[in-house]
Symmetry: C2
Subunit: 585 residues, 2 copies
Amino acid sequence: MYLEHISSPADIRGYTADQRRALAQEMRTALIRRTSMVGGHIGPNLGIIETVIALHTVFDSPRDQIIFDVSHQCYPHKMLTGRAGAYLDEAQYSGVSGFTNPEESPHDIFSIGHTSTSISLATGLAKARDLAGRSENIIALIGDGSLSGGEALEGLNVAGEMETGLIIILNDNDQSISENHGGMYRKLKELRETNGAAPDNLFRAMGLAYRYVADGNDAEALIAAFTAVKDTRRPVVLHIHTQKGKGLSFAEADPEGWHRHAPFHIESGAHKKIAAPDPYAAATVDFVLAEAQRNPNFVYLSAGIVGGINLTPADRAALGSQYVDVGIAEEHAVAMAAGVARGGARPVFGTYSTFFQRVYDQMAQDVCINRSPAVFLATGTSLYRSTDVTHLGFYDISIFSHIPNLVYLAPTSVAEHIAVLRWAVEQREHPVMIRMPYTGYDESPYPVRADYGTLNKSIVVTEGADAALIGVGNFAALASAAAAELAREGIHATVVNPLYLSGLDTALLDALKANHRLILTIEDGIIDGGFGQKVAAFYGAQGSVRVKNYGLPKQFFNRYNPDELARTYHLTAPQIAADVLRAMR
Amino acid sequence: MYLEHISSPADIRGYTADQRRALAQEMRTALIRRTSMVGGHIGPNLGIIETVIALHTVFDSPRDQIIFDVSHQCYPHKMLTGRAGAYLDEAQYSGVSGFTNPEESPHDIFSIGHTSTSISLATGLAKARDLAGRSENIIALIGDGSLSGGEALEGLNVAGEMETGLIIILNDNDQSISENHGGMYRKLKELRETNGAAPDNLFRAMGLAYRYVADGNDAEALIAAFTAVKDTRRPVVLHIHTQKGKGLSFAEADPEGWHRHAPFHIESGAHKKIAAPDPYAAATVDFVLAEAQRNPNFVYLSAGIVGGINLTPADRAALGSQYVDVGIAEEHAVAMAAGVARGGARPVFGTYSTFFQRVYDQMAQDVCINRSPAVFLATGTSLYRSTDVTHLGFYDISIFSHIPNLVYLAPTSVAEHIAVLRWAVEQREHPVMIRMPYTGYDESPYPVRADYGTLNKSIVVTEGADAALIGVGNFAALASAAAAELAREGIHATVVNPLYLSGLDTALLDALKANHRLILTIEDGIIDGGFGQKVAAFYGAQGSVRVKNYGLPKQFFNRYNPDELARTYHLTAPQIAADVLRAMR
């Protein structure tokens, strides 16, 4: 065994080619075993093992700085930088995150989870190095679909003008998360087929030097290529061709399905546990397929992650020209949706809440100033969803609810979600964004509407007195549960589902003043800039009603336990009920 | 005279080459005359006259749809689409805006003001057209530095994969607003020098067809080129070489100075009126130059608009390698700043508030999750600044104040601004964003601090009782003026400068409860998600103090009169004082 003895990259520098091959095999075995037990981004990491061995053989990390784009392909890097135990020893599996993290190791330069940032970050490190007169190597490793993101292309263009050393490694595995999209990928294919000689080279067109390595899973070839560019005084792109999923037959055969995988049986590749299907996503997929049939002008847009609702290859095939995957390019997707709607068709663009963060400007300018009636579907909008600090899905209310002309809705059940989505797609008046529920009511406790065009009209779920609980989206059910607890104590609280995040039902809020002393707002998001603060500000001008905002504080949480986090911030029914009782006394 | 008789593009379609030349001359004369009187984007528009004549000769607008990127180069288009009067008749000069606007004309497809969006919007129009089985031409006209923006590059990549008709015209005038930046511009130069034949063609590298037109100011050559691609069934780039400022000698000689110009004397090019220098920008420039001298690791980053503080060519030369203009690429600039700070140097990235909208994700991910102590300077943050709907500068508090780890500050005077900036650049703990004042105190009414590291500590400007006026940034002086009015009525109000937008001085707010019944928050921004709502939410939980939020409603205003807008929303001292008196009775 080599791996268990590696505590820093220096340990592998004297290895022979045979030792490196043995090490790669050990790493592959450990990766497969670990992922089979706890899941993870198996495909990208299997493809990049030799690259990482070569990097740590040629360069002197952490003096030389390696930035992993998206950073979900950092597992082999962690194995060679003092964290092998977390990949070898089951008891230590939870000791590392799935992304680079400077708090774990000085070999991790940034905490990274969104794509396409590595080149820009690297140019900054290079600038700081040059100002200080130092000479370390700066290496950005990008690939796996990230190159189509605008920030990466901006970075290439700026790097192309910098007259300084900067090494950009394009890990070309001919595969994004689902598929690669965009004209550049056809050209990358030509480069692969010509050993890097094809004309119209994107990198050279950006002013960069370029080198091709045909077998990106051959550590020896990579070591030669890295050695040749080490200590370069100008920016250079190394285009290396790797195989995603290398060494795991299932992953080699189905790179999309094995980009990230849940725990599986190593022999068969079968899931160890069939995940319960998300009822909201499933209903959305059904709606999308039916709507595409019904309306030939309906189109579903995706930005590299199958629309945030896991459209299967069969779904995408069924949608045909009514499905567009633009690759990882959220800004483009939003502006394109604005154009589709302006052209008279009906677009829905879906992605995770955390990736919508990239499109504030496009939502404001391309969509909302133009009142383009495009529809946006934000998924994973919950503290119960992704718990990685780079993928938190509970900031969207604070980001998008204050853009003029945008109707932002938080439905509370499958039925209400689909009713809202249907209305959004049929109407032509408003840009609409929908916060797809993640948890909440199993069934709607009230009939849904056919028309949501009367904006900002809340739903009174339960009529009561003294206290009113306004439960937003996912947390409408929590508000009802807290009200049920209160009912046992003799307090019959009003429960309201506001539905609209982008405006207040001022008539209802005014009416509540008559027989309510305490208003609670409960949202699956941060309090700062959230829905509850708007309610507090509404009542604040009068000073007669107390308003308590429930939600999360403005803070980056990482790898947290969602139930614990909810308890810490009193986001459970018993705690809310107890708080109300205390306040009412 | 031709121009005065043109009410729609159809009127020019039968013109001879001589008539077109005469028309171009008339348009040039009208543009120069109008701009000499009311100012505007003279350089880009002079360069594009022949392009627009050719477009409207070959294509059938509005059936064929032409999208103008940034759209500040839309004046000739407006002249030929029923709005000639607004360029010929002084009395009608204010009848049109400086950007495309669908409310003005069906020939304007989108309201556009930010760069790099046209290709993405065009792909959306093309998709809608194809779904509906129509066949109109879709044309995106991009250039003048916009091509370096990530959204434009994403758009090229997606367009390169679309097997449908789409015409992208690159208006290459070898000039951005200040300078073009990035490796691609060197390659565009090679294309110009080789009549389009140079290798490593960016557009072909993105999968697009490509054609070059050497003289982009020759309407006849352009007509031939446009005719050749009309009704194309595949995406094609027409690279046309134009001369910015053509026909106005001063503008030809100094394209940066004449990109946009204030009213001038036609004979000499001299300004008609010397604008009073902005004291905040001037002090910032002085600070930047001095700090660069003092600290060799200090670097100022700009994204195509000379840092938002109008660094002159001499300033930039003095800064040398301590100045980096990345071109129009705000996302890159923010990530690069994160890298510079991580590398131990001290970056400041400055741009207008409205352009910071593009970088929410980079601020959150690259900067704030990583606690990278970079400094960001937002300028034009006032309702008194740009009044175009696409350039409003008063949304930044709602966007950025809720990002964890970011210290967002709104200084109130030149002295406080520079003190805050100095602290920000010297400390290494926090990412810091500064809202550069635009109006406000001439001189600070209190001594400034040397250290702003004790976060969220407000400044009590005047101690009083009963009512407290919390005046944010630009409006601190307004709060003091209102307090002065109140003092005449016998009410001695407390005045507070909160300074920190990203957190509350809860100790002070708690203390105010003892002898204040009414709290006013007054900010030069929208109320939704703004600073005041945080104060309202703080007091709302107690219900004992009334809080009134002053600011603008969540709404897109366009070409408004700032004083009128301020009056409409009671943002004047007499109105605020009267409101307080009424409320206190």
